[in-house]
């Protein structure tokens, strides 16, 4: 049963299931004093991210830490344990017509801690900022089991260093996220998604930038390219008694606000789409959750062999999409670009060749981004640093690891520079 906690070909010798923050502290304290190495597991949806782990003895399954610690709807604050899934948290908030204004991949299994630690992000970020922008406090169990906290549970707080930031995106290599305080917001009264298809990334780009930089204030503008986009466009076009091109690129625009505002946004958006020569579009009801996500999200199995994520300037995102779509391996590629944010994720299911990796990384570097390889075959993972070249800041990151986890208790080797 420890098999399911296998990582990079290593199966741990035991699995711990802490049920409380105190348990977690005891667990890590023991691992630390035994000189062993632990890997923190949330829903396991993003374990492929990071460098190859150097040592791994104990799996710490965080999903037992799944309670709401404090929820004060009128103050727009919720504090939850890190092992709670995003879907469970959103369900609790929805009871009061509230939500955490960001979405993640696989919310039913992705936990709060895992999503923050791996910077798991969905399309909503383009207007609201990253997940980090909603965290107002955090408690952390340090590598040696010491419990610490920073921030608090009010929306504004500059007392002491903003330590929570360190753990967001750190893949659990500096400490275990135990509880998180979030700033939350109301569920918008009305939600719509406009899904449009174009015959080229260029025309989608023109419309996408116009919408992003216009007065529309969409929640998200997401571009999807590759075989799945073509399939979806074809399907939507058929339902609309039209046709989509073989190179179809989709643009998804999420709109959410009061009903009068959304009506106006839909009108303005579709007018812009017309002017930008969209091949067609449909307006979808967003009440059942964002169709943006089912269209732009995970690929159906088999899982990709190579996934690269990068964030470039929004205006560069379209060129990057084009370069990736025209590059090696483009016969089975799926690209999702969050336009306002500039994040471009590309997934391939081809045989991964050095050429493919090189051409993809070059495309990203050419667009001014740092390519982060989120998923790749094991052989490749042993050879390269999936974080790419981080320059001078890497030295500070090394010293951070040295300060917070000198014995390498937490996922040694997994972070940038194999720290």
């Amino acid at each position: 049963m420890t098999d399911s906690y296998e990582l990079d070909g290593i199966t741990p010798s035991r699995v711990e299931h802490p049920a409380t923050v105190d348990d977690l502290s005891v667990t890590l304290g023991t691992v630390h004093s035994d000189g062993q190495a632990a890997v923190l597991w949330g829903g396991g949806t993003r374990m492929h991210v990071g460098n190859k782990i150097a040592r791994y003895d104990v799996a710490v399954d965080m999903t037992g830490l799944d309670r709401i610690v404090d929820y004060r709807p009128p103050d727009l604050v919720v504090v939850a344990e890190a092992g709670m899934t995003l879907a469970a948290l959103q369900a609790e908030l929805r009871v009061n017509n509230q939500r955490l204004p960001f979405d993640v991949q696989s919310p039913d299994s992705a936990t709060i801690g895992g999503s923050l630690a791996s910077n798991n992000v969905g399309p909503l970020r383009s207007s609201y900022g990253g997940v980090r922008d909603f965290v107002i406090g955090m408690s952390i169990v340090q590598a040696d089991g010491t419990m610490t906290k920073s921030g608090g549970s009010v929306v504004k707080n500059v007392a002491g260093y903003d330590m929570a930031r360190l753990h967001i995106g750190a893949l659990g290599t500096l400490g275990a996220i135990a509880t998180v305080a979030f700033k939350i917001g109301p569920v918008p009264q009305t939600m719509r998604t406009v899904a449009a298809w174009f015959d080229s990334a260029e025309s989608a780009a023109v419309a996408g930038m116009r919408i992003t930089n216009g007065a529309f204030m969409p929640e998200a503008v997401t571009l999807v390219a590759g075989q799945r986009a073509v399939a979806h466009a074809t399907e939507l076009a058929a339902g609309n008694s039209g046709a989509a091109s073989d190179n179809a690129v989709m643009l998804l625009i999420a709109l959410a606000a009061g009903s009068a505002t959304v009506e106006r946004q839909v009108n303005d958006t579709t007018a812009t789409l017309g002017a930008a020569m969209a091949d067609g579009f449909v307006v979808l009801d967003g009440d059942a959750g964002y169709p943006v996500w089912s269209l732009a999200g995970e690929q159906p199995p088999p899982a990709p062999t190579l996934s690269i994520r990068s964030t470039v300037k929004p205006a560069e995102a379209f060129d990057l999409v084009n370069a990736l779509a025209a590059g090696a391996g483009s016969d089975d590629i799926h690209i999702v670009a969050q336009i306002g944010f500039g994040t471009v994720e590309a997934h391939w299911r081809n045989q991964v060749s050095p050429d493919l990796v090189r051409s993809a990384r070059d495309a990203v570097s050419g667009a001014g981004g740092i390519p982060m390889i989120e998923r790749c075959p094991p052989e490749l993972k042993s050879e390269l640093d999936v974080f790419g070249d981080l320059g001078a800041p890497l030295e500070v990151m090394r010293r951070l690891k040295q300060q917070f986890d000198p014995k390498g208790t937490l996922s040694p080797g997994r972070f940038a520079g194999r720290i």
Binding site: N157, G185, L390, F404
Partner: protein, 506 residues
């Protein structure tokens, strides 16, 4: 006075009763100063004791002598200065406009003040990607003016925006009235070029919204000049909203106004800004700016909603409804841009206007959950009565960010002590209801003694590890943020006593 380290206890509280005297009749340039003069023109190296006086204080009530002041003209010069300071084992304090309210820019332990005011250029405005690159000495309001022609704005708008710098905003993670809906500095800064303790010049974060690796940008923002010196900032800009509506509601009690705020927040409408000023502030601003507040108002709410026209209509209607439910005695909407500006000037310049009521003020910055506003505001009023010291309130009410402003006369030691006691009591009130010790002004010297009210030794030790991680141990802004050993023991009385230092009593 020599230019080396001066004893830690050479710290004084405003004001001094005796004229400042410097024992050495003929000050001499130290080797450190001579080396600094090789990097920066001698006219931009300040070292004579009488010239250093200008840099003794910031916007807070503490003050202390710097070892020297150097005003570089480029990031490269900053890097050279850091290397020289390190060689001489002298710490460095970055300084923007010195408007900070917690003593962040005050030099301790003989630190050299590194003033960034000459690094004041807006280097690039990228309209398409909505990013600007600016030097740290750019004044917040000037950044706003520079990007306005592009139809863009930079959100964080501290009330001190006509003076404070972007570097100082990064240092304190500054907020402002319009941070309610859109977030504070950290939500609007994509990256910074910084000089680290060994003189390395590097970017943390960048011009894109995200870079791989630990979020060094995120921990650096709000680190109060203790981790390095910011030499460039990439800021995120947003389009100027299509519609803005500014509304004023008067109330016959602070409690009624507070309940209204709590209800607005709870309703889920998140206006661009919800600010409150109370009776004392009204008395100060009315003759200064003539905003035309009703004479009998005990509290005024200034609410602004912005966005698409339809959203503005919807939200304004809801806000008006809630204000009326809570018995607003006077309701009005700004008719034009001129009226809007008058209303905002009355709010943003309220502190300055308080000078009409008392010679000095001590501005407290604390945060509470919005639902606790009514009871906390009552308690602050009761405290004012109890101590017999006036407290004016001007607050970023929607965030629960209190700014009680304690009015006193610094020539009267009894009043000074009362002001400090009142400040401490208010912070304790905030902590009791689950709030925070600072929403935007930082800890600096002012509040280091109060940190143990919310943080354990373990919490503070974890924070302290950031300095060595940045290679900055002992290098930048020493004596700030972290409580002294004494303060860890006896909060908050020891803190108050420590601030009423020798100079105060002579």
């Amino acid at each position: 006075m020599g230019q080396g380290r001066v004893p830690v206890n050479n710290r004084s509280c405003y004001p001094r009763y005796a004229p400042i005297c410097h024992p050495e009749p003929m000050p001499e340039k130290s080797p450190l100063v001579r080396e600094l003069e090789e990097v920066v023109e001698p006219s931009h190296v300040v070292w004579r004791p009488e010239d250093l006086l200008v840099y003794e204080y910031d916007g807070s009530i503490d003050r202390n002598n710097p070892g020297a002041v150097v005003v570089p003209a480029s990031a490269e010069q900053v890097s050279e200065i850091i290397k020289i300071a390190r060689k001489h084992d002298v710490p460095v304090v970055p300084r923007g406009a010195g408007t900070g309210l917690s003593g962040g820019a005050i030099s301790m332990e003989g630190a050299i003040v590194l003033a960034l005011t000459r690094l004041n250029k807006v280097l690039n405005i990228d309209k398409e990607n909505r990013v600007a690159i600016v030097e740290p000495g750019v004044v917040n309001l000037e950044l706003g003016q520079a990007v306005a022609p592009y139809g863009l704005q930079y959100i964080p708008d501290p009330s001190s925006q006509s003076a404070c710098t972007i570097g100082g905003n990064v240092g304190e993670n500054a907020g402002g009235p319009h941070c309610l809906a859109y977030g504070v500095t950290t939500n609007h800064v994509l990256g910074m070029e910084v000089v680290l303790a060994d003189g390395t010049l590097t970017w943390l974060g960048g011009e894109t919204r995200e870079v791989p690796g630990y979020d060094l940008r995120g921990v650096f923002i709000g680190s109060e000049g203790t981790l390095g010196v910011v030499t460039k900032v990439a800021v995120r800009l947003v389009p100027v909203p299509e519609a803005i509506r500014t509304m004023v509601a008067a109330f016959s009690s602070v409690e009624a106004a507070s309940e209204t705020v709590a209800d607005i927040v709870a309703s889920g409408v998140i206006p661009g800004a919800v600010e409150m000023i109370d009776r004392l502030c009204i008395e100060a601003v009315e003759p200064a700016f003539h905003p035309g507040y009703p004479e009998d108002a005990q509290a005024i709410l200034l609410v602004e909603v912005d966005g698409l026209r339809e959203t503005v209509d919807e939200q304004a209607e809801l806000v008006e409804q809630l204000c009326r439910q809570h018995g607003t005695t006077d309701w009005r909407t700004a008719e034009d841009e001129e009226e809007r500006e008058t209303l905002w000037a009355s709010r943003k310049k309220a502190l300055g206007a308080l000078g009409r009521l008392a010679p000095n003020y001590y501005l407290i910055d604390g945060v509470i959950p919005p639902t606790r506003l009514p009871e906390t505001m009552s308690k602050i009023n009761a405290l004012s009565d109890e101590l017999g010291i006036p407290i004016a309130n001007v607050l970023h009410a929607g965030d629960g960010n209190l700014h009680p402003c304690i009015l006193f006369d610094s020539r009267d030691p009894v009043q000074v002590e009362k002001a400090l006691v009142a400040g401490g009591r208010i912070l304790e009130m905030c902590v009791e209801v689950g709030g925070a010790l600072s929403g935007e002004h930082g800890i600096g010297l002012e509040k280091q003694g109060y940190l143990p009210l919310v943080f354990t030794d373990e919490d503070l030790d974890a924070m302290a590890r950031l300095k060595p991680a940045f290679g900055a141990a002992g290098m930048f802004n020493p004596g700030k943020i972290f409580p002294t050993d004494e303060q860890r023991e006896g909060v908050p009385h020891a803190t108050i006593m420590q601030r009423l230092t020798v100079d105060m009593v002579i």
